[in-house]
């Protein structure tokens, strides 16, 4: 379904949703940093910059409780988290690189085990994507087969027009429902020209070729060459829209506490550290190899998709300038 929505009506739509009690999550400035966060008013939305953390957070929180325990004498009681309490959410202003990662994550969270924390939030969230009109030289969505107008993952997709309004197209029942529930705010498509989309400066990379090289080169001098400099932090994985590893810890006292799930990263030395003290990935290049392997080989082997959408966040935040785009490009030329 193709529609038009003016800037004014988009504001009205979001404010109405907020008033109705829907949680609206949008890019928002928090202490100087753009982040996807719940907003109190449409005026708080700040779509100018790519949020520092990806939109995965709406389904896969930085940290969440998964259970609580209490001990009284000999009696231990456990309490589950009730997924029914996850709020209905509209996630708006999502960049194509962030939205495209969400269906990729669906695969792993609904594979042999159905992760209700992720899936329930997913079910309750409508994603409004926003075409991207500005890229920097870290962006490389075009290298991994996406583009700044990519609609994958969006229920509703907005393309900014020259008059300040948006061309609006729905790609799912959730999107249709949102339009149908607020019919008066949407008009028929106009002939106004769309703003020109961003132009990331990267060439498309042959990901099949990358994968076939990775199939054969678990051991290769390349890994030492690119990743000896890696410092072993989790910044790349944490800002990534597709990285989804998590850790589970119990926090509290003997008497009461919580079991919590929080983001984990393959760059950490503790990531595969065994209880025995042995670590199969004992050095940083082996850990970094896993990052590349998981994104461009293992995930493809299992789910037929690539675990990278080219948002460029890891390139921007890496303390030592490790650039996944140039690494994959290098591999593709081997």
């Amino acid at each position: 379904m193709q529609k038009y929505i003016s800037q004014q009506n988009l504001t009205t739509l979001l404010d109405t949703l907020i008033k109705q009690g829907t949680r609206v999550v949008a890019p928002h400035m928090n202490a100087g940093v753009p982040l996807y966060e719940p907003i109190q008013s449409a005026a708080d939305m700040a779509t100018g910059q790519l949020p520092r953390r990806s939109a995965k957070e709406a389904f896969f929180p930085v940290c969440e409780d998964i259970m609580s325990y209490e001990k009284e004498g000999q009696r231990i009681s456990l309490k589950d988290i009730d997924p029914a309490r996850f709020p209905e959410t509209v996630l708006v202003g999502v960049r194509p690189c962030d939205a495209a990662a969400i269906p990729v994550l669906d695969e792993v969270f609904s594979w042999d085990y159905k992760d209700e924390f992720f899936l329930e939030r997913r079910k309750k969230t409508t994603i409004i994507g926003l075409a991207c009109t500005a890229a920097d030289d870290a962006c490389f969505c075009t290298a991994v087969g996406l583009f700044p107008g990519e609609t994958k993952g969006s229920d509703l997709f907005l393309t900014p027009l020259e008059d300040g309004g948006y061309a609006c197209e729905s790609y799912s029942d959730k999107g249709e429902t949102l339009i149908n529930g607020n019919k008066e705010l949407f008009a028929e498509p106009t002939k106004t020209k769309a703003l020109s989309l961003a132009e990331p400066q990267t060439e498309k990379i042959d990901l099949k070729k990358v994968k076939s090289w990775l199939d054969e080169h678990f051991e290769d001098p390349l890994w030492d060459g690119i990743a000896t400099r890696c410092v072993g932090c989790g910044a790349c994985a944490f800002v990534c829209p597709a990285c989804h590893c998590f850790d589970i810890v119990d926090e509290g006292t003997e008497k009461a506490g919580k079991r919590r799930k929080s983001w984990d990263a393959c760059g950490f030395w503790k990531f595969t550290h065994h209880a025995s003290g042995h670590n199969p990935r004992d050095l940083q290049p082996k850990r970094y190899r896993n990052r590349i392997m998981h994104k461009f080989k293992y995930y493809d082997d299992k789910f037929g998709q690539t675990l990278c959408t080219g948002c460029g966040r890891c390139v921007r935040v890496c303390p030592v300038g490790i650039d996944i785009a140039s690494i994959v490009e290098e591999i593709s030329k081997k």
Binding site: N30, A31, G32, V33, L35, R52, R53, V62, C63, D136, D137, A138, D224, A227, T228, R229, C230, V231, G232, C233, G234, A235, A237, F238, V239, D247, V249, E251, R260, S262, W263, A265, F268, K270, D282, L283, Q284, P285, V315, V317, P319, V320, G321, I322, D323, A325, S326
Partner: protein, 307 residues
């Protein structure tokens, strides 16, 4: 008003580093050189370890040469074989960290070949690497720099440091602003900042002084600090980090530079440095001291706060 900062010496510095690196590698004086090389993004650099004289031409120095490479000399970086003498490109601030590590018996001067860089300043982490260096885009640490010319290096390119415009010390101003607030206001400020933390530990991983093989904050027996990235655990982590660096931090501000959430971490370090200067007249510098301000004492130390 963005006053430009003259970095024209950096091309001469680059050429000098390359020539010297080639010479010492070819002569076998060092087994490897840690320096900066260009990377894909326009104007950006990344650390590189050069072991072959032919590859010395990759070494550069630009306003985007932000890293403190001293990190690669510590035992935390097991990936770098510490065989023979290692050459390293250092700015004044980086050298202070090396000096600190020598004081803590982590490094020996004889194992190092120091290539000092006369430094006119580097870029702030908040701007694109291709940005021109100005009074606005310069890293905060450079506004308070007292070590633009590293001392006691094995080699320093012979260039004349341009005079730098007078810059207002950004940390001093911000610390004074925070000190003037009430405790509740300061708590609110840090609460907002720490809430953004995602516990990626980039601040710890780039710190030359965080060389512990197992960080207290990674331990779960006992678990002194909650590991989850919630406001409570984040706050505890940042307090512990600042405390463990008090009297050791050399002021390279890498923690703050690498923070993906732009938490002003170096403010905590600068505050502690300021207090230790006032209390014990200690400052990180170019002189190797076996004891830091918190690993020594005098019987006359201030105890006005003790009943």
């Amino acid at each position: 008003m963005t006053e430009p900062i003259d970095t024209s010496i950096y091309s001469a510095v680059t050429a000098a580093i390359q020539t010297e690196a080639q010479r010492i590698l070819a002569a076998g004086l060092v087994t490897a050189i840690v320096g900066y090389a260009a990377s894909r993004r326009n104007g950006s650099t990344q650390p590189i370890i050069v072991t072959d004289a032919a590859a010395a031409e990759k070494l550069i120095f630009t306003p985007a040469s932000v890293n403190n490479l001293a990190l690669y000399l510590t035992k935390a970086k097991k990936e770098i074989p510490k065989k023979g003498k290692i050459g390293i490109v250092v700015k004044g601030c980086d050298l202070k960290a090396i000096v600190g590590l020598m004081g803590e018996a982590q490094l020996k001067r004889n194992d190092l070949y120091l290539i000092g860089v006369p430094c006119a300043g580097v870029l702030a982490s908040t701007v694109q690497p291709s940005t021109a260096l100005t009074a606005d885009t310069i890293a905060s640490k450079c506004t308070e720099c007292d070590a633009r010319l590293p001392s006691d290096c094995d080699y320093v390119p012979n260039v004349q440091l341009p005079t730098q415009p007078q810059l207002a010390g950004k940390y001093a101003v911000e610390i004074a602003r925070l000190e003037a607030l009430t405790p509740a206001e300061r708590w609110a400020y840090w609460k907002e900042q720490f809430a953004k933390c995602i516990k990626c530990y980039a601040c710890r991983q780039v710190c030359p002084f965080c060389f512990c093989e197992q960080c207290l904050c990674d331990r779960n027996k006992p678990q002194m600090v909650d590991t989850t990235p919630r406001p409570a655990g984040n706050t505890a982590w940042h307090i512990v980090r600042a405390m463990h660096l008090a009297g050791r931090c050399a002021g390279c501000a890498e923690c703050e530079r690498v923070c993906p959430m732009d938490i002003p971490l170096n403010l905590l370090n600068r505050k502690m440095a300021k207090e230790l200067k006032e209390l014990y007249d200690y400052e990180a510098g170019f002189e190797v001291n076996d004891k830091g301000p918190l690993t020594t004492y005098t019987d006359k130390d201030d105890q006005s706060f003790i009943k």
